[in-house]
Amino acid sequence: MSSFDAMKKFAQSYAKMSQTVFCEDLSITLTVIEGLARHKDEYGAPLCPCRHYQSKKTEVMAAYWNCPCVPMRERKECHCMLFLQPDNEFAGQTCTLDP
């Protein structure tokens, strides 16, 4: 399974588990998943693609911004807009990606 497919699978199960939904525009969701997959391939962990880091290698080891990041796990806050609370203005209806 490619990292992209693995991250897609992870995103769907994590959204379901955390009772969050994807963005109404699924191209945003897929962009973020692609970014996570690329970080996983390059650095060994799905580091959040919506942050700037001085060193991605060091950040991966620190793990704070590895998806699901600490703010997401603690407070369901995903500034990357991958996992949205259902009342978010950009929230869609679903936590599945395949038709």
Partner: protein, 102 residues
């Protein structure tokens, strides 16, 4: 929109006569894609310059300006950073911020 790098930043942003809105973005950042069309509109509707900095390609510039969350939008007037907006915010909030410096 004009793409700026570490070499052109000084000329295009700091030396600009016009107010400059700098969009610090990254290629696989979802909210950056959401805000793109809004910035295109703003570039047409207001008398300011809108430019983009790819933080993956210009890490030193991003670090220098203390970028953490992406997208981060910064306004520069006469070579000085005057305001910062973090995240994909509604157009109305951006307009409100821009109007303070026009």
């Amino acid at each position: 929109m004009l793409h700026i790098d570490e070499l052109t930043f000084e000329n295009e942003v700091l030396q600009s006569e016009k107010l400059v809105l700098v969009d610090f973005w990254a290629p696989w950042c979802g909210p950056c894609r959401m805000i793109g069309p809004i910035l295109e509109e703003i570039a047409k509707e207001f008398n300011l310059k809108v430019v983009q900095v790819n933080t993956d390609e210009n890490p030193n510039l991003a670090t220098f300006y203390g970028i953490r969350s992406i997208p981060t939008l910064m306004l520069f007037k006469k070579g000085q950073r005057v305001d910062t907006v973090i995240g994909a915010v509604p157009k109305s909030i951006l307009i409100h911020t821009i109007n303070k410096y026009l």
